[in-house]
């Protein structure tokens, strides 16, 4: 239950002081925040000059934080074939300590999920190196967007844990809840920007949460779809119908903050050298499961999208106790085939067709 009182340590940050605080942060950290660009689009962006950008904290950014931790394509190694044999060299770049500011609850939840993916079975050095030294400053969502349904996935509109600092817009000021230790250190270090919060602000925070919760325009019955998948009562026809509609573009997976499937491939540079690349992949692609020689254990025509939804809404619930769809609604906006996760949930809940 998101209630400021649950967080022992809360402060106030006047909006007039925000830029000053960020300016301090930017001196010691790389700063990433949702920025409205000159085309009017909001994107998480590395900010070089705070005075020349417009940080947007209400409209959700089009991208998530995924690309900062799992780049669309990254070089894992360079390799050479020569007198040293067949030699791989790590191609890691140094990632500066970064503050991710203005992260919505959906994207925060997604990052916490990625942490699990990249450290559960094996610790992924490339992901964890980017994740080390990252500071997360979240912003609760007072006004969910039309495609949002984080209320149905347990990942918003307010979060009470996961970030280092969690902000709630209270008009002319932010209520600042301290999450993890690095957040505490930031407030202590620059305490001049903060003032103590009172019961009045904590009450306003709760009121804001209640209002935000009432502002969702979509009712997406995620829980019901999860139960249907677990019971195996989603008709095969539903998967077949949506698979036929899927245009195999991979857009849903690329835009999704929790789609972390990747491929690894070699790119030859010359006869004796090349580089090994890791790139985003999508389980909906026909080639995702195809094996050498042409055999494919997944029937693309009728099964292409089954893995996408059963993984997010059944397998990850079994594993983590919660779905790995965070209700950000990005796939709803990007899918032109009509096979987004909301469409699936609706179809699954209709039962037999």
């Amino acid at each position: 239950m998101p209630h400021a009182a649950a967080m022992a340590d809360t402060h106030l940050l006047k909006k007039d002081h925000l830029k000053g605080f960020l300016r301090k942060l930017a001196k010691e950290y790389r700063l990433v925040a949702p920025v409205r660009n000159r085309h009017g689009d909001v994107l998480f962006t590395v900010i070089d000059d705070l005075d020349s950008v417009e940080i947007e904290l209400v409209e959700p950014p089009q991208n998530s934080l995924k690309q900062f931790f799992l780049p669309q394509q990254e070089r894992l190694y360079t390799y050479t074939i020569g007198s040293e044999g067949y030699d791989f060299r790590q191609a890691r770049t140094t990632i500066p300590p970064t503050v991710y500011f203005g992260v919505h609850p959906c994207d925060l939840s997604a990052l916490l999920y990625m942490d699990v993916v990249f450290s559960r079975q094996q610790r992924d050095p490339f992901y964890l190196q980017r994740r080390q030294g990252s500071v997360l400053i979240g912003i609760n969502c007072n006004a969910p967007s039309p495609n949002c349904f984080c209320n149905a996935t347990g990942s918003g509109p307010f979060l009470e844990m996961g970030s280092d600092l969690q902000l709630t817009d209270l008009g002319d000021r932010f209520l600042v809840e301290i999450g993890r230790a690095p957040g505490h250190a930031l407030v202590k270090r620059w305490e001049g920007f903060f003032s103590p919060s009172t019961d009045k602000e904590r009450a306003a925070h709760y009121q804001t949460f209640l209002e935000a919760r009432g502002r969702f325009s979509r009712q997406v019955h995620v829980e019901q779809a999860i139960r249907q998948l677990e019971a195996g009562t989603v008709p095969d026809e539903v998967f077949a119908e949506l698979s036929l509609r899927c245009q195999d573009c991979g857009g849903c997976a690329y835009i999704c903050p929790t789609c972390t499937c990747f491929t690894i491939s070699d790119q030859q540079l010359d006869a004796d050298s090349g580089q090994r690349l890791r790139s985003w992949d999508a389980c909906t692609f026909a080639g995702f499961t195809g094996m050498a020689g042409g055999h494919n254990p997944v029937q693309a025509k009728t099964e292409a999208i089954r893995q996408r939804f059963t993984h997010k809404l059944r397998d990850d619930v079994r594993l983590n106790g919660r779905p790995s769809c965070v209700g950000c609604g990005r796939c709803v906006g990007i899918c032109f085939g009509g096979t987004d996760i909301v469409r699936f949930v609706e179809r699954a809940c209709q039962g037999s067709l």
Partner: protein, 286 residues
């Protein structure tokens, strides 16, 4: 979070020490890690696989076909199937490849002690079972009878002939069949299941280990069930496309399980809970 994290994707160099041509499509590559200390320390279990790197070809998962009871060399028996395996078939002794691993859940050797072992394989499917067979033969007193049923397309496609000969000498009941005979072939012709007609092994004291193409797999499962083999005592190893080998990239998904970390070895009891192509048209108890 710690500052140094083991680089799980970094291949190690391995040198080709010997190449055994098994047939026109399959060769066994005898490999040793170039770092001799690593090679001495290398441990694995039957049923595990390696991620193999070939220059400009990326990586592919390949079952280890040698037995951990014979340390010092890693055997990979490889059929020409795609770009990487075709490149492997151009390797010469002394060449270097990249290896990561071993990965995956192995065959439960301890659970096989005292039991009669029935191995059923088709084509390259004998590769991962070869690791189990040699492991068991190296401690033969701990196991019951060993039977190997092996199906090939034609007599000239019969791979692992050295092994089959050695096994026979060690008391293994090896039975071969081919899909299509050639002049001079006096053996069985037909599905590998036809070799099961006069099996005398008592199902309640036996474990079957199967590896082969899906069609063969389904036929063998059907026959084993009829004979009375329990699902828990039917073991197999699954083939899937893989990129990471360590449970992250998800290319090897199998209805909620991942072949790379939950398998590749599964019992039929485990597989029956999954909706997978290999068991299509075969009764699942989901």
């Amino acid at each position: 979070m710690p500052q140094t994290i083991t680089d799980i994707y970094l291949p190690r160099q391995a040198q080709v020490e010997q190449i055994v041509v098994e047939n026109s499509q399959i060769s066994t590559f005898v490999l040793a890690l170039r770092d001799s200390q690593s090679n001495d320390a290398f441990r694995y279990q039957p049923g595990q696989f390696m991620m193999v790197s070939m220059p400009h070809c990326g990586e592919a998962p390949i079952s280890i076909s040698s037995a951990p009871t014979r340390p010092g060399a890693i055997h990979l028996s490889v059929r020409k199937a795609g770009k990487l395996t075709n490149a492997m078939h151009k390797l010469k002794v002394g060449d270097t490849i990249g290896l990561r691993g071993p990965y995956g859940r192995p065959f439960p050797i301890r659970q096989l002690t005292e039991r009669n072992l029935l191995f059923v394989a088709g084509g390259i499917g004998l590769a991962p079972l070869r690791s189990v067979i040699n492991t068991c033969l190296d401690q033969q007193d701990q196991f019951g009878t060993i039977t190997v049923l092996y199906g090939s397309r034609t007599p000239s496609d019969i791979a692992f002939q050295n092994d089959l000969g050695l096994w026979q000498k060690q008391g293994v009941d090896c039975r071969l069949t081919v899909d299509a005979a050639e002049p001079g072939w006096n053996g069985a012709v037909g599905l590998v299941t036809s070799l099961m007609d006069d099996l005398t092994t008592e199902p309640s004291q036996s474990t079957a280990l199967i590896c082969g193409p899906p069609l063969m797999f389904r036929a063998v499962l059907g026959r084993l069930s009829t004979i009375g083999f329990a699902d828990e005592h039917i073991l197999t190893t699954m083939e899937r496309h893989m990129k990471c080998g360590v449970g992250i990239c998800r290319h090897c998904h199998m209805d909620g399980k991942l072949a790379c970390v939950d398998g590749p070895v599964f019992s039929l009891a485990e597989l029956r809970k999954l909706e997978i192509m290999e068991l299509d048209d075969f009764c699942t108890t989901k």
